[in-house]
Subunit: 333 residues, 2 copies
């Protein structure tokens, strides 16, 4: 797909760059010759894990701070050609038990970052990592970008506000910005300690630890998944293409699978793995969205993105990674 | 319309109750025999004006505080049967120059109020004053509740988040809440010092002061208007009807007029009044939405609301009110 040589020598800022998708993006940009500055808060409950950037630590500028710090961000956005804005609170459940923190990070800090750009670097191009969560429970499938917006949790509402601030600053102030609405993304570097980032993390951990995967409900809920390399490719394409300015794009996958089928795939790929179908915990049932998968024709047509890594291939790579590096991702029990 | 005797003896909390719509609602509820507690911050740039409640001051409990104060709100929500949640930052322009304050009031404080209700008074019924601003530039007219949401300013994004928190707390926690998406509301008690609350305020002031009304653009932009008594009626109906729980409703009017026509009406009603059609100031053009008027069939069908006060009648009442009480609403120049 992309000819990404344009990133060579460019100044790039990545918020959430020690996290899952961020660190994979950092690695790719370093390989492309970009001058990368990474911002991460390293809040223990979030996605940042220094092992994610261990191999490229000496080739980047690492700045530990919180995107909620407006003075730090005002300094850090200066002089950058690209800003990949990936820092966020991702846990749906945490957004319900501590809604104000979710708001501070996913909405208030985004506004503050955009104000920093408006004041100190209006020429920057911003790519914001948004989420399919803001569609809520689908009215139709696959879900395209004109599907009604109806978040079912505080996280969805705040992420939406964060996304719209970006589009607004594009439209009103001409600060080039676009948003990718990511679906379930997985792969090396994701948080697997718990389900705060993705349920697939804890599934993979359980498989490796020999514990059963817990499939909630009847296991028939449909989902789509992107391997992290494909998500990174989309972020890079969106950064370089002026057609993306002011736009939102769904990511997605041709492979739509039920959670039960996904559990079966994992069980086949890892000897001894097993899964149990169990009732929904009530706090999860309250914010469950049923079946979901995306229509990603828009990004395919406009930016030329297509997911390339098949689900089986991605799961094999993920299982291999966490089997090898588990000591860096959870305390052995 | 409504039989509002059900409010007699009830405990009612009204945020923004010294402001325009709030104070009219307070007066109506006092007349209905409710025990009314009024919360207002009296921030000078907002809608609160103590003269608005001068005639009923001794019949209410007045608590001056800011809805951003979570401890005050935790105390104030206790024991209330109804909460009319009207406090807000309403200026579109101010939301662009100071986006964080708009976020704090229109989004963060709303979440904090809902958390206070969840923890201290989950049985309360909440009616939230939302706005047609969140539809942005209409894709079709009249705009109904399924019209796409596309705010064109920070205020619209934050008001939307505030609205959705209410619906979410209804759906997830069973705290009964609904939202009315108000269109242009006018009448006695509105802020007329400037255009922070409604452009019609400054128009009426200019008419009374013998200054020309400034009509931006070509004057052909269509709008709908509700006299404040009709908006109050809708708030009361929404509070009493369980069918409203979890719903949003547009308000609107049968009378759709161009801004030029509205200026002509005012000029006819007040001897010596005149208007000028002038180009848009650039900061207003950037967030202008073109024509707008609502489809309000949903609230008519479900709650039995209809606007009753005609535009001419409402303008006459407004001109009379501000001619008589101008010293309480602006410093004579």
């Amino acid at each position: 797909m992309g000819d990404f040589q344009a990133f060579s020598g460019k100044q790039v800022l990545i918020t959430g760059g020690v996290g899952f998708i961020g660190s994979n993006l950092v690695r790719r940009l370093v390989a492309l010759g970009a001058q990368v500055t990474v911002v991460d808060s390293l809040i223990p409950l979030y996605g940042g894990n220094l092992f994610n950037i261990d191999d490229i630590r000496e080739r980047i500028t690492l700045n530990i701070t919180d995107v909620r710090d407006p003075f730090a961000m005002a300094y850090l956005v200066r002089g950058k050609d690209y800003l990949f804005n990936l820092a966020g609170q991702t846990s749906h459940l945490d957004s319900m038990t501590d809604p104000q923190t979710d708001l501070d990070i996913n909405a208030a800090a985004q506004l503050s970052i955009l104000e920093a750009c408006r004041q100190h670097n209006p020429g920057v191009k911003i790519v914001f990592a948004s989420t399919r969560q803001l569609y809520g429970k689908p009215e139709y499938l696959p879900v395209d970008e004109v599907h009604p917006i109806r978040p079912v949790d505080v996280n969805g509402i705040n992420k939406l506000a964060g996304e719209w601030y970006h589009l607004l600053y594009n439209n009103v102030y001409g600060i080039r910005a676009c948003a990718l609405r990511l679906t379930n993304t997985y792969g090396p570097g994701m948080r697997v300690k718990d389900a705060r980032q993705t349920f697939l993390g804890i599934w993979i951990r359980n498989v490796i630890e020999g514990k059963p995967i817990l499939v909630f409900g009847d296991g028939k809920q449909l989902r789509d998944f992107n391997y992290v390399d494909d998500a990174v490719e989309a972020l890079l394409l969106a950064a370089l293409n002026p057609r993306a300015d002011g736009q939102v794009y769904n990511l997605g996958s041709r492979e739509v699978v039920s959670l039960k089928h996904l559990a079966q795939m994992l069980a086949e790929l890892h000897p001894g793995a097993r899964f149990d179908i169990v009732p929904f915990p009530p706090e999860r049932k309250a914010i469950d969205i049923g079946d979901y998968y995306s229509d990603y024709n828009k990004i395919e047509a406009e930016l030329g993105w297509l997911p390339k890594v098949g689900l089986r291939e991605g799961l094999v790579a993920s299982l291999a990674y966490y089997s090898k590096h588990q000591q860096h991702y959870w305390d052995a029990t």
